[in-house]
């Protein structure tokens, strides 16, 4: 049995806006083991990024964002409650034990500092090493993330690098201190497909080497198939389906997941007309005006009046290790299509 790294229990986030209190994440619970990749999948606005920022305590201070629940970081037999940790200690966890990479490699690097300096700074921020050692480590990291001529690249400014290289630099910064957990917030979305595949390979290689846990946020099922061990689908701030990635990809039980899967274009479909590609009608509901019952019911093709719009379906296990939120999945399972 592998070591548990992170346990998130009943995490809720509510934002205060001029229109009142807007809940954006409702009671999300999940766990992350060492060496494992958990993909969080969902449309824009489903609360997946907010979840990760809440774990890192990078959301605005309490009156504007209220977080409840429990986030426990397990490290060397000790449990740290991240939501209760004093800010000074939290700062030591960030970047050191839990690192994060973002969607936009183009803007996540400071344009006025050389990339070498930025890698070295994040190393020296957490470890008391000489600048010589930090430099050596930075070169090693750049080499490891597949940047050629790492010594020359240390002196480059971010604008002198391509998008793929910048994302590699971001990964180098994130991984320089060998974190226990890497949160990757759509790290490949802004990159073209070939670079995407390289970055995913790189992340997997590094994970195999050092056994870090990856929380991978994405809206791309291709990426999920590529990298994830387990997947968690979020809709309107709720986990609607969670389980082993393979199982969810081959046998999605929640109509929303199934809809998402249908809307992924496949190479076999090339040349067919646009109508053949499945879509989910409508939009993600406004978190301030949530529909009653299952948040997905207004868009669901299996909606049943008087059932789906009454109560929020509980998260239940379909088979052990595969849970979902849908009241009708049993009756749908046979007639799915």
């Amino acid at each position: 049995m592998t070591a548990r790294r992170l346990t998130v229990t009943d995490l809720s986030v509510t934002f205060r806006t001029p229109d009142g209190q807007v809940p954006v994440v409702h009671g999300a619970s999940f766990a992350l083991d060492a060496g494992e990749t958990l993909a969080v999948v969902g449309e824009s606005g489903s609360g997946k990024s907010v979840t990760s920022l809440a774990v890192m305590r990078l959301l605005p201070a309490p009156p504007r964002a209220q977080i409840s629940g429990k986030v426990t970081f397990h490290r060397q037999g000790r449990d740290l409650d991240l939501l209760e940790l004093p800010e000074r200690q939290m700062r030591r966890v960030r970047g050191d034990r839990i690192a994060m990479i973002f969607q936009e490699p183009l803007t996540s690097l400071n344009p006025v500092h050389r990339v070498g300096q930025q890698i070295m700074e994040s190393i020296r921020c957490h470890r008391s090493v000489s600048s010589e050692d930090a430099r050596r480590q930075a070169i090693e990291m750049l080499d490891r993330v597949g940047i050629t001529e790492p010594e020359a690249r240390l002196m480059a400014y971010p604008h002198e690098l391509s998008g793929g290289m910048r994302q590699r630099v971001m990964i180098a910064i994130a991984l320089a201190l060998e974190p226990d957990i890497l949160i990757a917030d759509e790290p490949t979305t802004a990159l073209d497909v070939t670079v995407q595949a390289q970055i995913l390979d790189l992340l997997r290689d590094i994970q195999n080497e050092n056994g870090m846990a990856i929380l991978f946020i994405t809206h791309n099922f291709g990426v999920v198939a590529e990298i994830a061990d387990r997947a968690m689908v979020m809709y309107s701030g709720r986990v609607v389906e969670a389980g082993r990635a393979e199982e969810i990809l081959t046998r999605p039980l929640m109509p929303y997941t199934a809809g998402l899967m249908r809307s992924v274009p496949r190479i076999e479909d090339a040349g067919r007309s646009e109508q053949d590609l499945g879509t989910i009608e409508g939009f993600v509901p406004d978190p301030a005006r949530m529909p009653s019952g299952c948040a997905f019911h207004p868009r669901c093709r299996h909606f049943e009046g008087g059932l789906c719009d009454v109560e929020v379906p509980p998260l239940e296990d379909a088979v052990p290790g595969h849970s979902l939120r849908c009241l009708r999945w049993r009756s749908l399972e046979g007639a799915r299509g």
Partner: protein, 292 residues
């Protein structure tokens, strides 16, 4: 994957496009040359002249320029104007620079905190800045100058205390837009503190605007020093400054016009040069001007 060629990657920024853009700006280059010459003359000139600035030669009162040993003539006490002009230049340039440094420091600190923190702290700081802007600067200066001992240090401090607002506003505006950028979140993510982010991540990104504003502040500080010294509240004789040289000159405007013209030219030269440099820097540090 496209790589930047090694030449550009190895060049430090100050050998890059900004310098070339600055060099293309003729007035700015002229201004720089003028300021360098003026500074050199003020620093190294006085010992090379035949008279010092306090030497009184009553037989040679009111000599016009280019008579005898007095290259720029003499004043009503027969003191050598060339010597006084250069000594005054030391004081005026020094006060200008020091006031710029001090006001830039105040402005940057207030601006960066206001811009980064936002909220009620930011609002309070910016309203405080605005309240300073409401006062007509010259009257504030005169009022302050009337109460304190007018030596160069105090003059510098009161000039700085009345001219930091513009930089504070510029910095606050820059920081407000910069703090929303992803690299700030990335820095928070890797465990950086707020102070680190403010001064190491954000400030260097706003440095262009600060340099331009600071250069223009030097010009204004020199001019303000001249105002208050001219009105008699600034640098006190016998210590010369360009402003108090003008003060002495006004009653002899008809009979000995060079008394006013010479320090006037010095002030004009210094102020316009700094303004041209500021202009040139503004264009040079704005990458968009390459597109024109």
């Amino acid at each position: 994957m496209s790589l930047a060629d090694d030449k550009t990657a190895a060049l430090p920024w100050w050998q890059g496009r900004a310098i070339r853009r600055f060099a293309r700006h003729r007035l700015a280059v002229t201004g720089t040359v003028m300021i360098v010459l003026l500074t050199l003359a003020c620093v190294f000139g006085p010992p090379l002249l035949p008279f010092d600035e306090l030497h009184i030669d009553l037989r040679a009162r009111f000599s016009p320029p280019l008579t005898g040993d007095h290259y720029l003539g003499t004043d009503p006490l027969g003191r050598d104007i060339a010597a006084r002009l250069l000594m005054a230049g030391r004081v005026s340039l020094l006060v200008g620079f020091a006031a710029m440094l001090l006001s830039t420091f105040i402005g940057v600190v207030i601006g960066i905190i206001a811009g980064y923190r936002g909220g009620w702290i930011g609002t309070a700081l910016m309203r405080f800045t605005d309240s300073f802007l409401c006062f007509p600067q010259i009257f504030l200066l005169l009022a302050l100058a009337a109460f304190i001992k007018p030596d160069p240090l105090m003059i510098t401090i009161i000039i700085a205390a009345t001219s930091w607002m513009e930089i504070a506003r510029i910095v606050a505006a820059e920081i407000r837009s910069l703090r929303e950028r992803d690299f700030v979140l990335a820095a928070r993510m890797s465990g950086a503190s707020h102070v680190w982010i403010m001064f190491r991540e954000l400030l260097p990104n706003a440095i262009g605007a600060i340099i331009v504003a600071a250069t223009l502040t030097v010009a204004r500080a020199i001019l303000i020093e001249a105002y208050i010294s001219f009105l008699g509240y600034g640098i006190q004789p016998p210590l010369p400054s360009w402003g108090n040289m003008l003060n002495n000159a006004q009653q002899y405007l008809a009979s000995a016009p060079w008394l006013a013209i010479i320090p006037g030219i010095a002030i004009t030269l210094a102020v316009t040069s700094f303004n041209f440099i500021g202009d040139g820097l503004r264009d040079a540090l704005d990458a968009r001007s390459d597109l024109k």
